[in-house]
Symmetry: C2
Amino acid sequence: MSVRFSDRIRSMNESPIRKLVPIAAAAKAKGKKVYHLNIGQPDITTPPSFLQSIRDFSQDVIAYATSPGDPKLIDAIIEYYKGYDMHFESDEVLITNGGSEALMFAMMALCDPGDEVLVPEPFYANYNAFSRCINVNVVPITTKAEEGFHLPSEAEIESRITPKTRAIVLSNPGNPTGVIYSREEMDMLSRIVRKHDMSIVADEVYREFVYDGLKYTSFGNLPEIADRVIIVDSVSKRYSACGARIGSLASKNKDFSKQVLKLCQGRLCVPTLEQVGATALYGTPTSYLDEVNEEYQKRRNTLYKALKEMPGVICEEPKGAFYVVIKMPVDDAEKFAVWMLEHFDVNNETTMIAPAEGFYSTPGLGRNEARLAYVLKDEDLAKAMDILKAGLEAYPGRVESAIPAM
Amino acid sequence: MSVRFSDRIRSMNESPIRKLVPIAAAAKAKGKKVYHLNIGQPDITTPPSFLQSIRDFSQDVIAYATSPGDPKLIDAIIEYYKGYDMHFESDEVLITNGGSEALMFAMMALCDPGDEVLVPEPFYANYNAFSRCINVNVVPITTKAEEGFHLPSEAEIESRITPKTRAIVLSNPGNPTGVIYSREEMDMLSRIVRKHDMSIVADEVYREFVYDGLKYTSFGNLPEIADRVIIVDSVSKRYSACGARIGSLASKNKDFSKQVLKLCQGRLCVPTLEQVGATALYGTPTSYLDEVNEEYQKRRNTLYKALKEMPGVICEEPKGAFYVVIKMPVDDAEKFAVWMLEHFDVNNETTMIAPAEGFYSTPGLGRNEARLAYVLKDEDLAKAMDILKAGLEAYPGRVESAIPAM
């Protein structure tokens, strides 16, 4: 006899963002340089206040923090939200282990096993991970590269709703698509959740990453659904502090925080020092965020210009976050990604991309797609794109058109 | 209409360890000093290497760590285990956000909704939290203060096993009971899990806290069930670093780590800096642990001596960890705990205890019991016990005997 693992964990897939890491490691071990477009790990310097405030920490005992989170950090986040005309009280914000735990807790609070959440696909692949391990079913609302990944009609979305649908979970700006939902799309979702008694879990960790002067509206700016909106946030991308793992949940629905507090108590607290550092981060002047935005807009331009020049590649210009999903003229994006690592190089350099199939829950979709993160500095990004272009031309599994068979 | 929260979250209780915190805060606000026996937050100094190694961290970007954990920390833990004659390879250890996440991941990997885990009760109250939020049912094996919380007979344990029982989850040394399981008890559990095709999730975070020269055996020392044992560990108590939130999972069953890695990837990683600090902690000379052990044994003696002198209090001498569960001559331990905070003091000082009902899953059990953590320095502990004794004498809800009616 051997140990029987649960169905829920066996149904989970390896992260499409991280599963090729061992293959990349093997390539690097052979001396090949790998440009990482697979993972949203920015190369931007973390504001030095993060490390400095931690260095200044001088208590003798590294003690538990309070379960809802360090009150100073909660206050700092409340201040930050005011800049977006969102007004939270201290019992409406909870600190979490990254946006990941925030998403997991929100789904646990809203869904029992077998319940459903609507998610525009392609979506952040870990939504699949979180939902499967707690037996929540993701019901996809398919969106398309050709349409810039904007939402389908109200009727089409409503057709996916069942008595088990508890929430719409989405990221805005969108990971992996770079979409920014229009005010009309947001009003449509607002109507839907009111009509069907649902919540919106709004993953807005890329709030500052909006380009071309587009106006950004948070789901926290819609007063008519204030008690139905749960905002997921994180310092990871905003302050280039992915390794701090500090996220948060905010909702005007005080019962939500009250329920989730029980989960927070269950895991006791979020690391004490990281909360000290994150508090300092939220005090960063907004000029830092403006500069970062400018830098990413430049990178977005570099990336998009290069993509437009690749024959057979289909994508719309991404408007936010720092990702884009592209359709490629290949038989299978994962095979292509592996081939790039194992068999292709330009001057001993290659590019790593994330196959997009794991960002879909509809079987078969995304098979010829990849997510690219434009988190490298401009000259590296340009090189990585040249290599990608050359790889697509040389790849033995190249097909005529990126339009999927199905 | 208002948001409907999930049954799973509504079924969760507030942490019995933390639910009285607002009442304690109110008492403190009025100038009352509160001795905290309710929570296992040691006052021992964290080895300075923790903060020092973090202060020395000098990378510009606080980047994601790898999902399984920092290889240096994994190596350090492997080295640590060798001191206990446990031999793990690097793909058999995963770093987690505290022991809490380790326990949650282990249960997710082994149990589907509706599956059961056997847990000797009273048990660490958060086992209830973890299991409820992932719909796993805790089936208690009741143990008693009068018997030093040792296990009942093999037949009695087997009588609780159903086709849905997947694992035995326990802490050894025991939180909240201070029990150390004998080799005979461990062999009994080993027979049971082999016979019924189950796993053992062994929460051994108090491994160094064993007193009176008792010999300690880890579940990792039983080769006949090596592929069925999952060891949960943490730096929290061992190195007085509760706020670091660094735990780990170790198992000779490589399939287990492979499955759980998917959960690790889902939440991306554990904080980068905390792992740097924890790596340094695992390099602490064992003399530190010896000194800490000596200190706690002294405190245990102080506590137990005081308890023996309290009329109507029932408990056996705890042999490990830094807790004890006592039966008190009171109508209701929670009422008593609240009364101590709100209405009782000795020279404006009082004692906070954790009502034990939340450490049981059998309804009604533990109602006149409390968990005391002996984590204060000796003189404070002595004072806290004097106050407790005086409180028990003065309490209006005092009853004749601590023996429960049921």
